[in-house]
Amino acid sequence: MSLLSVRDLTVTYQTQTGPVPAVRGVSFDIDKGEVLGLAGESGCGKTTVINAILRLLPPRTEMTGSVLLGGEDVLAMKPGRLRAVRWTEASVVFQGAMHALNPVQRIGDQIAEAIVIHGQAGQREAIVRVGALLEQVGLPPRRLYDYPHELSGGQKQRVMIAMALACAPSLVIADEPTTALDVMVQAQVLKLLKELQRELGLAMLFITHDLSVLVEVCDRLAIMYAGRIVEEGPAVPVFEDPAHPYTRALSGAFPQIGNQRFRKAPSGLGGDPPYPGDVPPGCSFHPRCPVAFEDCPTIDPPLFPAGEGRRAACLLVDQKAKETVEAAP
């Protein structure tokens, strides 16, 4: 059984102007020790998915489907059980570490907070453990007594990682852990995350819009568009030989230096992702798709098998798949 199993998850926000479906039927699994990358443009529902996993969404948000965390459905949990599960089974490295720390508390206390809340240790003992955690993320333990403003951006992100590890969860969700960091620090933070993941055998859900980051860190990739997963599979093949035109556009946005193909044709994707309350009929990607044909506006493609361990939601993939099946005698 997988550690995290999300099935047909839909999340609908209630807004002034009516319901807005931000996530429209997402399913994925993460096994123990596996790293899944979730990528997509801003507003495609990545953050909503992770907030749904820990049920951190606004009170009146509608959720259907199931989120099985260690075999238990998070969406059906009672508040007390939910509080106990948060951070002990799944923790989050939040995006924007500079804001996720309380400016008027010492960082040691903030990390210890997680340990103390869950009654795993008293304040005194927790502080000792926090010192060890800080060392684990490459910060000297004396940093315990610093306030957030005394740390650099990269150090704050390390603090956030230490905090995510505080209760020894089996799943760590990293929500764009490298945004707002410069490239050098980004590389350091990624290296640290990868090392810790290997060392502790963590399962990770890694979220970013930066595909090149995901390929480095993840075992498998899932690409989201307009509240759905449009392509899924092992990281390297998905990035290097995308099956869905959207993935192709995303990976094409990272030119390889020295490759003539990228030099002649700088690729990009025109247009904006659709507003979640007003998704085009048929395949939601068809208005921006360079290879759309007449069936696309009418048929909403499910995920078709697209090679070994891969699936993609595109009619062309299905046809290709059919043709290969038919061609094989």
């Binding site: 509080r83 106990a84 948060r86 508390q105 809340i117």
Partner: protein, 324 residues
């Protein structure tokens, strides 16, 4: 262990025997000591900024003066001066003289003594009424702002209700129903002056509760109580503090008003009750200005001083007003 003392030849200074004594290593600083050192430094930082604020410093000087007067009242003016039967009283309606610098009232008591002793009651009522007002205001504001939805609707309508009912009639009714005593006066002022605090606190809580670190703490599995006490309150605290200082001024004025209207405790002398007695005895018409001026000026100065301190603190603690 006792160290035997060896007196030197002259027998003056005690000399310790252990000669090669190494100075003990500085005691390891525990986290608590470090926290306190930090707090002290933070306070010093605020104090440095505050000292540059002329208005705030003058307010503080005036308050320090009245505070000292209230605390040392028995030393400055003998308490028996309040008793009309005391032989130390002079003739009624005496104009200011060397013996009675502020003159005497209709019972021959020194107005200076009355004013000095009145500061105790006035300031005390001001502080305790403010304490109650702040407590109610903060709790209502935090509950309304933090929980939102129906609890917010209910609490804010209650706040609006207290805000629109006229203060004086309500205070008069409460004071006359509950009886005339100091405790009642404190309760009445405290219970009627919290709505503006509640609204300010609620507004700040609304802004603090959406900050990412609060969401992070929620993801940690923190309970509501934990979130409110560890994350919301410390960030709303400075605002409550600045507001407290301003509310004290209002509370002192309210006490004066109620006492002047004859709703105060007749047995405890405050600036308001002095004014009431003076007014009742016709001091204004009889030309006894020395009876009305000292308590009146004292009220003006104290209220002004609290307001000045409040504004200065607001300027320092409210980042939007801070000049950088």
């Amino acid at each position: 262990m006792r160290v035997p003392e060896h007196r030197g030849p002259a027998g003056d200074a005690p000399v310790l025997v252990a000669e090669e004594e190494v100075p003990p290593p500085p005691p390891p600083k525990g986290p608590r000591a470090i926290v306190w050192a930090r707090r002290r430094r933070a306070l010093q930082r605020v104090w440095r900024v505050y000292r540059k604020n002329t208005m705030g410093m003058w307010g503080l000087y005036i308050l320090a003066f009245f505070g000292a007067v209230a605390v040392f009242a028995p030393l400055i003016a003998a308490g028996e001066g309040l008793d009309p039967t005391c032989p130390c009283t002079g003739t009624p309606y005496d104009a200011p003289s060397l013996r009675f610098p502020f003159g005497t009232d209709n019972l021959g008591r020194s107005v200076l003594t009355l004013t000095i002793w009145g500061s105790r009651i006035s300031l005390m009522v001001g502080f305790f009424a403010t304490l109650i007002s702040m407590l109610i205001g903060s709790v209502v504001g935090i509950l309304a702002g933090y929980f939102g939805r129906w609890s917010e609707s209910v609490l804010m309508r209650l706040t609006d209700w207290f805000l629109v009912i006229p203060f004086l009639p309500l205070a008069i009714v409460l004071a006359s129903v509950l009886g005339r005593s100091l405790l009642v006066i404190i309760m009445v002022i405290g219970v009627t002056s919290w709505p503006s605090t509640a609204r300010i606190v609620r507004a700040q809580v609304l802004s603090v509760k959406t900050r990412p670190y609060v969401e992070r703490a929620r993801a940690l599995g923190a309970s509501h109580l934990h979130l409110v006490t560890r994350h919301i309150l410390p960030n709303v605290g400075p605002l409550i503090f600045a507001n407290t200082v301003l509310t004290v001024a209002i509370a002192i004025l309210s006490e004066t008003t109620l006492s002047f209207l004859g709703l105060g405790d007749p047995l405890s002398i405050s600036w308001g009750t002095i004014l009431e007695f003076a007014f009742g005895a016709g001091a204004a018409g009889g030309g006894q200005w020395w009876w009305l001026m000292p308590p009146g000026l004292a009220i003006v100065f104290v209220v002004l001083a609290f307001t000045m301190c409040g504004f200065a603190l607001d300027e320092i603690l409210n980042p939007k007003l801070r000049q950088r």
